[in-house]
């Protein structure tokens, strides 16, 4: 797990995948312009212009044209329910990229850089992925070896991105059974199919497949008694409502007994 000094080839491999397809072209164009004696400053300014020149195009590998499957987060629930926060718990980094105008097409890079079962060196890319999912150690346990837009079935067949549930069902059969019956995972919309549609969240909308354990989260504030919450500890404890004063205390760890007078909870106005 050691970092090698960035050789020219290594740099060329690592930079474009992180930043995306455009930078592949840019970095190549910059390198070519520098080698051919052009001014570096000028080259940096006119990256995009350089791409469009015939010279730059001829010196780069031919980039594949891949179809761009939609990778947007499906809407959960009804649009009229603006007062309800229906955000699924997973932090969706990849989908954030989509929101910013990027596609989420793995083959844009992997057409050029095929993944192997495992490398004998640390990953240069996808370093943000922390793989802690049972005894799955390799990317290709789930991802298809040749088509990175798909997942892999038992027999090496492709499972489309949209059918990710079937991938998870390979191991989590009982959970899949419950999900199909509608009792695992959340449903939104209409319980009565005669009156409207319902949306079901799929596995990876809630679980990060690389780290499926739910992340602990900060709970929303506890109920409190407004008139009592603004009292100091001593006053409230001395009063007849001592029992309630105990209730309004936050139950965080390491709460000192001798707190200065003031709001007993952090949620007091």
């Amino acid at each position: 797990m050691t970092q090698r000094p960035p050789t020219a080839g290594n740099l060329f491999v690592s930079a474009p995948i992180r930043a995306g397809f455009l930078l592949v072209v840019s970095a190549g164009a910059v390198g070519w312009l520098m080698l051919s004696g052009a001014l570096p400053a000028r080259a940096a300014e006119t990256n995009n212009a350089a791409i469009s020149t015939a010279d730059a195009r001829s010196s780069l590998p031919v980039l594949p044209v891949v179809p761009r499957p939609p990778a947007t987060q499906p809407e959960a629930g009804l649009r009229s329910d603006t007062h309800l926060d229906k955000t699924p718990p997973r932090k969706t980094v990849g989908l954030d990229l989509v929101k910013n105008g990027w596609t989420y097409n793995c083959m844009e890079c992997h057409k050029l850089f095929p993944a192997r079962w495992h490398y004998d060196r640390a990953l240069n890319e996808h370093k943000d992925i922390k793989l802690e999912h049972g005894n799955n150690r390799f990317c290709l346990n789930c991802h298809h070896p040749t088509n990175h837009n798909a997942f892999v079935d038992y027999d090496g067949a492709e499972i489309a991105q949209a059918d990710v549930v079937l991938l998870c069902a390979k191991c989590h059969g009982t959970t899949y059974r419950d999900w199909k019956a509608g009792v695992h995972g959340r449903a939104n919309g209409y319980w009565n199919s005669a009156m409207g549609d319902r949306t079901r969240l799929r596995c990876i909308q809630c679980h990060d497949p690389h780290f499926p354990k739910f992340q602990a989260m900060k709970p929303l504030p506890p109920l409190r008694y407004p008139s009592r919450a603004v009292k100091g500890d001593d006053e409230a404890a001395a009063g007849a409502s001592g029992g309630h004063a105990v209730m309004t205390q936050p139950h965080g760890q390491g709460q000192p007994d001798t707190e200065p007078k003031g709001p007993t909870t952090s949620h007091a106005p």
Partner: protein, 324 residues
């Protein structure tokens, strides 16, 4: 043969029979009259509101919800909408949704999945227009999330006021409690004026205009499911949910009891309740008990189901279940 009369009446003077008014009896009578008058004045005091125009004669003479004619109900709904607009600055749509045929609601909650984030309790507020001072005041929420010690279901050691940095805590599990919509509901049995009753689809509802605020139902409920409006509800205009229903989430008057109705205004329109919509772990399952293919029946048939305080015989429509 004796000549003695069998029922001899002792001779009484006219003064003995009709006591003349002396000082003592006069004062007694006056005091009694004063008390009576005071009581009468107190009883008629609400009429002052009539004088001031705060209530109408219709409000005072309104019948029980189940005796209202459709025309009356229509008029009452319109007047409630206007009243809400005058008092809170927002004009809601107050509907009157009737129970659906062939529907009996059931709710199940997965104790294996719940992480105690309280999103349901806060969504309840956003949906049901409970009184609250600010965004952090959820005292009137219909859902209490209890933090329980692992190893037993012991309500006595539970804590509804937990506030750690992160949930779930390692040695705890979490149990949200709300109205169980009991088939044998103690709350409806103790109501002296029948202001609360069970509807055909199993929902226990309150006619807020009929409730006298005695809070017998709160004392009778084994699940702490009812809330009382000690003061006139305070709610900011932007926090008001305009989709309202007469029996559920319209803004309540002061001095009445309110409770969870499984979001009647949503569920009778076919939607899921608000607490289910926001649950991040999908721990909540809602459905029609009378439909054999519903999710709720899948749980009752296939999962380990736990009924809270089953021993008190309330026969709830709210079930807890476990995955593992």
């Amino acid at each position: 043969m004796s000549h003695e009369p069998e029922n001899s009446v002792s001779p009484k003077t006219i003064e003995q029979v009709y006591q003349p008014m002396n000082r003592r009896t006069f004062l007694k009578g006056t005091a009694a009259a004063m008390v009576g008058m005071a009581g009468l004045v107190a009883a008629l005091k609400p009429l002052l509101a009539l004088e001031r125009g705060e209530v109408t004669l219709h409000d005072l003479l309104q019948k029980h919800y189940r005796e209202l004619s459709p025309a009356d109900l229509e008029r009452i709904r319109k007047s409630l909408e206007a009243k809400c607009e005058a008092e809170y600055g927002v004009r809601p749509t107050i509907k009157d949704l009737k129970p659906l045929d062939g529907v009996g609601f059931g709710y199940a909650l997965n104790l294996t999945r719940c992480i105690g984030c309280r999103k349901c309790a806060h969504a309840c507020l956003a949906e049901n227009n409970q009184s609250r001072e600010d965004a952090n005041d959820i005292e009137m929420s219909y859902i209490r999330v209890l933090e329980m010690n692992k190893g037993a279901i012991n309500l006595e050691t539970s804590n509804a006021y937990y506030d750690p940095e992160k949930v779930p805590q390692k040695d705890k599990y979490y149990m949200p409690v709300q109205c169980h919509q009991c088939a044998q509901s103690p709350c409806t049995k103790v109501c002296p004026v029948q202001a609360t009753w069970q509807e055909k689809d199993g929902l226990v509802v309150v006619d807020y205009n009929w409730c006298i605020g005695c809070r017998y139902c709160m004392a009778a409920c084994p699940y702490d499911a009812r809330r009382f409006n000690f003061k006139k509800p305070t709610i900011k205009p932007e926090a008001i949910n305009r989709e309202q229903s007469y029996l559920s989430n319209r803004i309540r008057p002061k001095g009445v009891v309110e409770k969870c109705t499984f979001c009647l205004q949503r569920t009778r329109a076919g939607k899921y309740p608000a607490c289910l919509e926001v649950c991040p772990t999908g721990a909540r399952v809602f459905g029609n008990l009378l439909d054999p293919n519903s999710e709720i029946n899948y749980i009752l048939n296939n999962k380990r189901v736990y009924i809270l305080k089953e021993d008190v015989g309330t026969q709830p429509r709210f079930y807890y279940f476990f995955d593992k």
